[in-house]
Amino acid sequence: MSSPTERAPVAHSAGAAEESRPSLSALLLDPSFWADWASVVGLVGLVIVFGIAQPVFLSVANLQALLLAAAILVVLSIGQTFVVATSGIDLSLAAAVMLGAIILGLVNAAGYGIFIACVLAVLATSAIGFLNGLIITAGKIPDFVVTLGTLSGITGLGLILSGGEPTMVGSTFLLKLASGSFGPFGYPVWVAIAAIIVAHVALYHTRFGVHLLATGGQVESAGALGIRTNRVKMAAYTISGFCAGIAAILLVARIGSAEPQINTSLLLNSVAAVVLGGVSLFGGRASILGPAIGALMLTALVNGLTLLNVSAFYQPLAVGAIVVLAALIMRYQK
């Protein structure tokens, strides 16, 4: 489990500059190293601490359960990353998950196939994301205000559509999705892994990824070079909405029903995972692996505290402390 820390400095120096390879000790003393690798360091630290305090934590069954529990947050954090990379923030993310779940439940309950229900759920959440981006760019309104508004609006819409009642979704497809596995991982974990790979390629290996970071970095400069920054922003929010739709499917599969309730910790944790992952809230700087590991770390924290019989009331406190700590470390990011 110590291998990520040993490998990390090498990868870091190789990416930073060809001619200067700082020694390991110099790197470990450099605050920006800790800032860049906060999520990895945090995850390794938690694994070591929980592993010693409660050996069950390191059992294969628990690690599998941990990954399964992290899948939804990983997918949401990826969506949030694309938005934060443009120096925006999507506060409506968890509300979009709720609406996606409700639409999935209602369409399924109306007798349509589960496949159509899932597609409609993803389409609806993607449309919400697109709408966020459209209002932000066309109306020139701050991201924070618009997504705060859609957060409330979507919540209301979800309550209206569902009548405030949960809808049972008894689908063998979703049951298999939630409980089945391929190789060592459950299907939701594979969905998260696929999301990580696709998002990583999109961010680092396509023109869209470069234009996304350019838009987040200096929007006027990007515009002066002919990048259509408004389109890039709208695409980022649409991706965020799409991820919310995927998360909604995983959520309904996991709990077997569509609940008209927002899981606010999902929203907060998605932002927290992005921050832990070293993504700049001012935009222009992002990775996919960082937030994914950040999401894993937050899930490991909750999992470990539960195994240690710490009251659930303490979990938000621990998450909050870690996020603020990470933000402090981030100040040293170069």
């Binding site: 930073a16 500059a17 400069s221 990007a222």
Partner: protein, 254 residues
């Protein structure tokens, strides 16, 4: 010498005649004739408010002139917006440089012109080719940066200016327009950027240079155009003029 010479379109990369631009009731310039020769450095000087910035913005498509004609590379009315000007072959080195701090040198050099390799319907960045090409672009102009993988944020003002100029030249532009390229630089960095502009001249890149610095203009350019109070007051060969004469032309004492 103070008379504006008639345009001989054959060797001009860009030529304009009878150009006027007003903003509401405010007159930026009237009936301006101007041309820049192929492969030369052409300077535009003038006091603040003489209209040179507005003239340049008309040449690069930011403003559309109210009257007059622009002929670029033998084509009349070649563009109506900055994007069109870029496509036609005019690259601008913006005063704010238009660099993205968080991206690397190589990424900035290829921003919005990224090289891609296609696999089926998908286009992936060809990062190796871009890095290779970025290195050769920089070495062709003898620009020194610590690494092309370095974020632009960490570069000095002179290095940033050099990257910005390199990007403009490297795009295969027929004409590079620089607005006060050394305005915010120290002595050494100014010297570096001037050396770079001289290399562009040796490589026969057509350059339009806007500057306040008369000495610099005389050192760097072939032809100097002087604007005063919204008119083109004079044009002189840089080799045939003196600093005093330029001051006199700019202030109207001549």
């Amino acid at each position: 010498m103070s008379a504006v010479s008639p345009s001989s379109a054959s060797d001009a990369i860009i030529a304009c005649n009878g150009l006027s631009k007003h903003f509401g009731g405010v007159r930026a310039f009237t009936d301006v004739a101007f041309q820049a020769r192929r492969g030369e450095v052409t300077a535009v000087i003038g006091d603040n408010g003489a209209g040179k910035s507005t003239l340049i913005r008309c040449l690069v498509g930011v403003h559309v002139p109210d009257a007059g004609s622009i002929v670029f590379d033998g084509r009349e009315h070649p563009f109506s917006n900055p994007d069109g000007a870029r496509k036609a072959g005019i690259e601008t080195v913006h005063q704010n440089l238009a660099l993205i701090d968080e991206l690397t040198v190589a990424q900035n050099l290829f921003l919005n012109r990224e090289l891609v390799s296609r696999i089926g319907p998908f286009a992936f960045l060809d990062r190796k080719a871009m890095k290779r090409e970025a290195r050769s672009m920089l070495s062709r102009l003898s620009i020194n940066v610590p690494s092309i993988n370095q974020r632009v944020r960490r570069l000095s003002g002179g290095q940033r200016q050099a990257i910005s100029i390199c990007r403009a030249v490297g795009s295969g532009a027929k004409l590079v327009v620089m607005d006060e390229p050394t305005a915010a630089l120290g002595v050494q960095e100014t010297a570096n950027v001037e050396a770079l502009i001289r290399r562009l001249r040796e490589q026969s890149v057509s350059v339009i240079l806007v500057s306040h610095n008369f000495d610099q203009v005389r050192r760097l350019s072939d032809q100097i155009w002087v604007m005063r109070a919204g008119k083109m007051a004079a044009t002189v060969r840089a080799s045939e003029t003196s600093g005093n004469e330029l001051v006199a032309l700019v202030t109207g004492a001549a």
